[in-house]
Symmetry: C2
Subunit: 199 residues, 2 copies
C-alpha cells in the first residue's frame, strides 16, 4: 500500500487540523499513514530559536492565530487559543513515538491535540496524558514505559531522522524523498503518493 | 464588485505562481483584483533579517526551491532557479506601484515575474524593465516617472500600509480586514471575499 509519513509535534498549531484531516483523505485515496510524532524544539534550536517563531515574530504569530481559527472552523473542529504556547510536548511525543505502531495511536494523537487546542489543558502533565491513554482504552501507566531510556532514545532517533529528511517545521508530510510542509499541503502529498510512490 | 488585494514582491518566489493564477480565479468568482506591489526587504529588516529567510535558514530554502518547482509544474508555468536570489526588486516595484491602476499592469506584473523566475534575467536592470514595458505597449522611459520623488514616496507609503495591515510575507491577500498569506491561500481569500465581503 502507498504511504504518507505524517510528521507532527503536539505543540504545533497547524498539526492540529492536519491530525483531524489526514485519515479521511488518506483512506479515500487508499494511502496508509505512517505516524511520525517528533519535536520541533531541538530543530528550532539549531536555527537559533529558543521559542516558537510565532512568538519571536509577532506579525507572523498574530496572523497564525487568526488563520488557525478560520482553518479550524472550515475543518469543523473547535479551537481555543491555548493559555500557554508552545506547550511542552515532550511527554506526549514520547508516548506517541514509543507506541507509534499501536492501533489506538491515531485516536491518542487526535485526543492529545484536542486537549491542547480545544480544551486548553496542559499536555505536559502526566495526569492529563494518563487520562487520554485511559480514554483510548489503555492503562495510564504506559507513561512509565514511554519515559524509559529506550523510549527516550527512540524519540531522539526520530528527531535526527527528521533533520536528515530536511524537515524544519510541522506538520510535514513525506512521500519517498519528497517533502511537503504545512497543513495546506496535505492534499498535495496525498496526490503525490497516489501518482508517484511505489507500493 | 467584491475585491481581493494582491500584495506581492517581484523577488518573492511564491508570488510568481500566484501572479499567474489570480486572474482566472478572481474572474470566475466575479472578484476584482487590487494590485499591491510592495517590498518585503524593509519588513524583513524590522524582524532582524538582512536577507531572505530562505537564505538565512537553509533547510527552509532547500525545501522552498523544490516545492516551487512542483508548484510551477502544477500551475503549468516554466521555472528556472534565478542565479541571484533575492533579486533587487525596487525598480520593478516602483514602476508597478506608480502605474498600479493602468490596464497594462497585470501583464507587466506577469512578464516581470516571468523574466525573474523563468528566464533568469536581472529585473533590477533598467534595460530589462524597459523592455518589459515595451512588450506591454508602453514607452521604456516610463521608468523615469517611476523613479521620481512622487513615485518613490508612493511605494514607501504602500509599504507602511502593508505593515499596518499585519503583512509579513508575500504573496499576501487581503479581503477587508482579513489577511491570507501564501500562494496556497489564494483560493481561501477568494472564497472569503465571495462569502463575507461587502460590494
Amino acid at each position: 500500500m502507498k504511504k504518507v509519513e505524517f510528521w507532527f509535534d503536539f505543540a504545533s498549531t497547524y498539526s492540529y487540523p492536519a491530525a483531524f484531516r489526514i485519515e479521511n483523505l488518506a483512506q479515500s485515496s487508499n494511502i496508509s499513514i505512517v505516524w511520525r510524532p517528533f519535536l520541533l524544539g531541538p530543530i528550532f534550536k539549531t536555527q537559533g530559536w529558543n521559542d516558537s517563531p510565532f512568538n519571536i515574530y509577532p506579525a507572523k504569530g498574530n496572523y497564525m492565530w487568526r488563520d488557525l481559527e478560520r482553518v479550524c472552523e472550515s475543518v469543523g473542529i473547535p479551537f481555543r487559543r491555548p493559555s500557554v504556547f508552545p506547550r511542552n510536548s515532550v511527554l506526549a511525543a514520547r508516548v506517541a513515538c514509543f507506541f507509534s505502531e499501536e492501533p489506538w495511536l491515531a485516536e491518542f494523537v487526535r485526543r492529545t491535540f484536542f486537549e491542547n487546542f480545544a480544551n486548553d489543558r496542559d499536555i505536559s502533565d502526566a495526569a492529563v496524558v494518563g487520562s487520554i491513554l485511559e480514554t483510548v482504552g489503555q492503562p495510564a501507566d504506559l507513561i512509565s514505559s514511554a519515559q524509559s531510556p529506550k523510549a527516550k532514545a527512540k524519540l531522539r532517533t526520530v528527531i535526527e531522522h527528521a533533520v536528515s529528511k530536511g524537515i524544519f517545521g510541522a506538520p510535514s508530510f513525506v512521500v519517498g524523498s519528497e517533502l511537503f510542509w504545512g497543513n495546506d499541503r496535505l492534499e498535495s502529498a496525498i496526490v503525490w503518493a497516489h501518482a508517484h510512490a511505489q507500493d
